[in-house]
Amino acid sequence: MSPERDLRLVPSSGGGGVDVDVLLGQVARGDNQAFSALYDEISAAVFGLARRVVRDPARAEDVTQEVFMEIWRKAARFDRSMGKAKTWIMTIAHRRAVDAVRRTESQRRQDQHTAPDEVTHDQPADALIRAEEHGTVRECLETLTELQLESVRLAYFNGYTYAEVASLLDRPLPTIKTRMRDGLIRLRDCLEGVS
C-alpha cells in the first residue's frame, strides 16, 4: 500500500519509477510525451493481465491497445478522489480483457477451463520488484480458503461470471457470491496489514 511500491511496480528500465498519477495528469492535458512515458511505465502490467485473461497474445495486444486508447480519451475524466491512477488503469484493462473473452464462443472458453493457468512469463518485467510486491500478494492469497481463492481466481483470471463460477464449482449462487466478497475482504485486510 505504500506509494513507493506503487510507483515502482513495473519500471521500464529498472531505474527510479515515475509517478503514474502525475503522468496521467499530464496526459489529460494532451501531453504525448507523458503518454509515451505512461505506456513505458504500465504497459507490462496491462499486457500481462490481458494476456492472462484472453490468453491469445495477438488478442492481448488488441486489448492493450484498446486500454491505452481509453486512457488517452478519458484521462481528463479520471477522478483521483476515487483511487489511484494505476488502479483505474488496471480496472479498465480487466474490464476490456473480460469483454474480449466473453465475445468468444463457448468452445474456446471450454478449452481455457480444461487447460488453466499455464501462461509462461518468458520476459518478466522486473524480477526484483516482482519478488517484493508480488510475493506479498501471493502470501496474502494463501490466507484465503480454497473455495474463496478458486471463486476469485476463476472470475478474475478466466473472466467467468459468478453464475458460471458457481456452476463450475458446483456450489449455490449465493455461496459463490459471498465467497468472492469474503475472499476480497481477506485479501484487502492482509495487504493492508503487511504494508
Binding site: F47, A60, W72, R77, V137, V152, D182, R188
Partner: protein
C-alpha cells in the same frame, strides 16, 4: 433487496456480473457510499493482483498504440461545479427528462439532407445573418417547415441543398428579459454542443446543413449563454433524411 445487492460488491469488482447485473449494481452504489468505498478497495486489491502477471509486450505494440492515439481526440473533463450542465453530456446514461420527447418531436418533423455541420458565429454583432437567413428561405430548392414551439409561438426552418445551408426564422419568438437569451444547440449521440446565442431573434440564424443524425434545439439560457442546456428546449428538430 439492498442487503442482497450489497453482497455483489466482490463479484462487481471482479467484473463477474452480467451486463444487466453490473448496471443494476452500478446504479445501487451511486446511492451507497459504503458500497462505493468497498468496491474501490476491492479494485485496488485486484489491481495489485493483476500486476503480478506483468509481462513486457512486444516492442512493435508501442508504435501501434502511439499511432492510434495520434488520431484520437480526448474527452473534456467533467466539470465538478455543474451537475445541471452535464444533462446531455454523458452519452452513457444520464439524459435530461426531455430527451425522449425531443427525439419523438424530431421523428415527427420533416427533415433535412446531409452535409457538414458548422454554424455561423451567431453572436457576432453586425453579422450578415439576416441576409444569410433570407438567402436560404428564398433559395429555389428550399424546403420550409414551420413548427410550433413549447411556449406557443412558432419557428420556421428552411434547408437548401444547393446552398448546403439551413436557416431558422425566429422572429415570432417572444422577447426575453435582459437576463435571458435564446441559444442554439447541436445534439449528436447525446452530446450537446452550443452553436451560438441568438443575439437578435428578429434576424434568425443560418448555418451549414447538419448531418442527418444531429438534432438541432433551441433553449432559453441565462445572459451570455450556457455551456450545456440548462432548460428544456422550446423546439427541436432532427436533421434526418427525408
Amino acid at each position: 433487496m439492498s442487503t442482497d445487492l450489497h453482497t455483489l460488491s466482490g463479484a462487481y469488482a471482479l467484473n463477474a456480473l452480467t451486463a444487466d447485473e453490473a448496471q443494476e449494481f452500478g446504479t445501487h452504489i451511486e446511492a451507497c457510499p459504503a458500497c462505493r468505498l468497498e468496491v474501490a478497495e476491492f479494485q485496488q486489491v485486484v489491481a495489485k493482483w493483476g500486476a503480478t502477471e506483468a509481462l513486457q509486450p512486444p516492442a512493435h505494440l508501442k508504435s501501434r498504440v502511439l499511432a492510434a492515439v495520434d488520431r484520437e481526440p480526448q474527452l473534456p473533463p467533467l466539470l465538478p461545479s455543474a451537475q445541471e450542465q452535464e444533462v446531455v453530456s454523458d452519452s452513457e446514461g444520464r439524459r435530461p427528462k426531455w430527451f425522449p420527447r425531443l427525439v419523438a418531436a424530431a421523428a415527427a418533423l420533416a427533415a433535412i439532407a446531409v452535409g457538414s455541420f458548422a454554424f455561423d458565429q451567431l453572436n457576432e454583432p453586425d453579422s450578415e445573418l439576416a441576409a444569410g437567413v433570407t438567402r436560404v428561405f428564398d433559395a429555389e430548392d428550399a424546403s420550409v417547415t414551420t413548427m410550433p414551439t413549447e411556449d406557443g409561438s412558432e419557428i420556421s426552418v428552411a434547408t437548401s441543398p444547393s446552398l448546403n445551408r439551413m436557416a431558422v426564422d425566429t422572429h415570432e419568438l417572444p422577447s426575453l428579459s435582459d437576463q435571458q437569451v435564446y441559444q442554439l444547440w447541436a445534439i449528436e449521440r447525446g452530446e450537446a454542443t452550443s452553436r451560438g446565442v441568438l443575439s437578435d431573434p428578429d434576424e434568425g440564424a443560418a448555418m451549414g446543413l447538419p448531418d442527418e443524425d444531429v438534432t438541432v434545439a433551441i433553449t432559453i439560457e441565462p445572459e451570455g449563454g450556457s455551456q450545456r442546456p440548462t432548460t428544456e428546449p422550446i423546439m427541436s428538430v432532427e436533421a434526418s433524411e427525408v
